[in-house]
């Protein structure tokens, strides 16, 4: 028995070593095993699902692909437009935009970048097979493309479309030569991942890592890194451990519990920045009588929907102690909100301030609205989507119960929550919204305009808030081509809808990055982690 086992073991060992010698034709080297001073590793919080820039419109993918590809219009760390592959752009009339393109830009394979590539890209975007969320929304407004010369291109729209530069800041340009016959698989394998960006594709392993190497001929100048390895470390403890052990030199989304410890440690520096993500509450105003999960205290249905009364909405907003949530639940990594974007963004009102916490005043307002003894409701929220979402929901429940409402809390995984929330199965919904366009007009259109699927208004207005006066103001603002006039109109609309408590804004998330000593990251409001923003401190 033992003899057979030993014989088996020996044969196994011998065959293993023999095959390893002959079969070791391919060895993949981990970047850390051949580390030079100019190689760097970064730990990411979410998985990258594709290297095809038009396949899936989701934050992590967009951030990663901005290393390899570029957009016509770029956004800086405050989401303000800067020249990208386009040097300048202007509306030559209400229905036409002209973009002047950057010259002497080359693709990673050496061929020159021209307007033909843009025309091809815009044709490809709506036609990517199996895309779970394409960029078609952002190219739909363009009905005609005219190439004036290889470095000037004009886009025509059917109706005045002021947000064209913003839309084009999301669409990454691909090479016509390479892209014509390329599928998503080709991009994932790297064959087609030829862009104009600061880094070139080297390796992509789904759910594991992405390796990029510097584009030495990049038009924007030399980058400080030769090889960048992005590791997908979704588990927060593992991400912090990777930073502490030196396996990565920077991480994004530092877990709230570790921020204090890392801030005090001189071996690391933490940068944070307010983001474009607002955490808010939508109140279901779609039903005439009781909305789902809202009852009288004795369990009976209510005759009227309390959320349709602005006094009830205002009372619910006054009941919330936003400062307490920011300091206790978010540990300071948040900022109380009065509207949908922090005031550094376009279209935000400087006059609006976060609703003052006033539990007594809230109770009075409720009584005035006809609910002297309050009512009963359940607060619903996700538990794995936003920073500390489950804890925020619980804090809200405690605060709301103080003004005489019987509250229950239910949180659930986002896979269940969002499906049901979109079907309007809840009454009081904790939600979040990241405004990718960087201006408040489109945020209000998605969240507060009266729901109209055909017109694309109020698509994510789960509260089904409706205010015709506001709709009119917003619609006018959205077609005002002049930037300054439009901003004034958007601000007026924002002040109107926030006064009417269309939704209850809670706070803006603050994003955090932690880097090793000697490195500095330029934090961004769009929460992207870009190697281009990481520089050694001289």
């Amino acid at each position: 028995m033992i003899r057979t086992m030993m014989l088996f073991g020996m044969t196994l060992l011998i065959s293993l070593s023999v095959s390893a010698q002959t079969g070791a034709t391919s060895t993949t080297k981990n970047a850390t095993s051949t580390t030079k001073a100019r190689d760097i590793s970064i730990g990411l919080q979410a998985a990258i699902t594709s290297m095809d820039p038009h396949y899936h419109n989701v934050g992590p993918n967009n951030a990663m692909l901005r290393h390899v590809f570029e957009t016509l219009v770029k956004t800086d760390d405050n989401q303000k437009f800067t020249p990208g592959l386009a040097l300048s752009w202007r509306a030559i009339n209400d229905l036409t935009w002209e973009f002047k393109l950057r010259q002497n830009v080359r693709w990673h394979d050496g061929s020159p970048f021209t307007a033909e590539d843009i025309a091809f890209t815009l044709k490809r975007v709506p036609n990517v097979p199996n895309s779970p969320s394409s960029f078609a929304t952002f190219t739909r407004a363009i009905v005609d493309i005219k190439i004036i010369n290889p470095h000037t291109i004009q886009f025509s729209t059917a109706t005045p479309h002021v947000l064209l530069p913003s839309d084009l800041s999301t669409v990454m340009i691909v090479s016509k030569k390479i892209g014509e016959k390329a599928t998503t698989e080709d991009y994932n394998a790297g064959r087609a991942a030829i862009g104009t960006g600061a880094y070139k594709f080297q390796e992509y392993s789904p759910n594991q890592r992405v390796v990029l190497k510097a584009n030495y001929g990049y038009w924007g100048g030399e980058e400080p890194w030769d090889v960048v390895t992005f590791k997908m470390l979704t588990n927060p403890a593992a991400r912090v451990a990777a930073l502490l052990s030196g396996d990565v030199q920077m991480i994004e989304t530092v877990p709230t519990a570790d921020i204090a410890k890392l801030s005090k440690d001189p071996k690391y520096n933490i940068v944070d920045k307010i983001s474009n993500r607002v955490i808010y509450v939508h109140l279901n105003q779609s039903t005439e009588k009781s909305p789902p999960f809202v009852f009288a205290k004795d369990g009976k249905q209510l005759d009227k929907n309390p959320f349709r009364d602005v006094r009830v909405r205002r009372a619910l907003s006054m009941a919330i102690n936003r400062d307490a949530i920011v300091s206790r639940v978010m540990e300071g990594k948040a900022q109380s909100a009065a509207q949908l974007l922090p005031t550094i963004f376009y279209g935000t009102s400087k006059k609006l301030t976060p609703m003052k916490f006033d539990a007594e005043g809230a109770k009075k307002l409720l009584a005035e609205a006809g609910y002297p003894n309050g009512f009963a409701m359940t607060i619903h929220g996700p538990n794995n989507r936003y920073i500390n979402d489950a804890n925020i929901a619980q804090a809200l429940a405690q605060m709301v119960s103080r003004i005489g409402i019987d509250v229950k809390v239910e949180t659930m995984p986002s896979a269940v929550y969002f499906t049901r929330a979109t079907k309007l199965e809840f009454g009081y919904m904790l939600l979040g919204w990241g405004t990718e366009s960087g201006e408040q007009g489109s945020a209000m259109r998605s969240l507060l305009a009266t729901f109209d699927a055909a017109k694309g208004m109020g698509v994510t207005n789960r509260g089904r808030y409706t205010n015709p006066a506001f709709d009119k103001l917003l619609a006018e603002a959205l077609v005002t081509m002049d930037d300054k006039k439009r901003e004034v109109a958007i601000i007026r609309a924002a002040e109107m809808v926030m006064d009417d408590v269309g939704l209850i804004p809670l706070h803006y998330e603050v994003s955090t990055w932690a880097a090793a000593k000697g490195l500095k990251y330029t934090a961004r409001t769009d929460q992207y982690t870009l190697a281009m923003g990481l520089k050694p401190i001289k």
Partner: protein, 328 residues
Amino acid sequence: MFTYFIHRLTQSGVVLLVMSLIVFLGVFAIGNPVEMLINPQADEVERARATIALGLDKPIIEQYWIFLKGAVTGDLGKSFVYGTSALDLIMSKMPATLELAFSAMVIAVLFGIPLGMIAGLKPDSLIGRSIMAISIIGFSLPTFWVGLILIMFFAVQLGWLPSNGRGETTLLFGIPVSFLSADGLSHLMMPALNLALFKLSLLIRLTRAQVRETILQDYIKFARAKGLSNTRVIGVHMLKNIMIPIVTVIGLEFGSVIAFAIVTESIFAWPGTGKLLIDSINQLDRPVIVAYLMVIVTLFVFINFAVDIIYSWLDPRVRLGTTAGGGH
């Protein structure tokens, strides 16, 4: 033997069918994958397009039927999230998980059986008692916590081992493995140990119990009386007889090691199927969930079949396919 094989094959086929139906209906009941994947800024036109692109506009039974038609030809659908063939995605990550699971079982068997035998042969000695005490700790501590402690100690404090990921891989018969290089081994050590701990404790206790039982058997006394050396008595006769339940348990546990690997893979960012599965469940990537479960069920079927073969080889009295009531 042949009929037994056919019988087992049909059984497994039925299990696969039922399981795939359950997953389809389960994911359908949880939520809408489009809701999880669509960018909130997208308009209704885009949502409708995405729903059709993923085949989710059709009734659930029709979606299942389409899946079955594809499954017969080996196509288990395209991942909603990655856009690539779900089966290819799983199979590309399988070697990593299998390597981790194998290493964990090797550690558990290599240390568990000898330690268990020592504890069984010398139950009242200091060494016997300490082995048992350590085994209790081994299966009481949660894998999640032990993994983090190992990282904190070996990676952060001492800096001896890397804290996450898989190291260099070399090709062995065309499959990438990492235990053949020093860098690969250093990455493999902690996750394998973390995963092995529970099984190790289990095997120690099981082996000890088996040893305590067989040492009282008549044939042991007879072998000693016959004058056989201690090594032969224990190493050949006793070992062969205690192996039967141990092999059965190892077979069962190997399947659960692959399943438990999910936790270890998450902590150590080990790029295996466990991590992929958790993320797919969170994102309602149904094709990947179904493909993964079907691969796992097939694996379990093979493992159990192999266990039965080894069982019959170890114990010549066992004949496969005979009824439990006894032979003729």
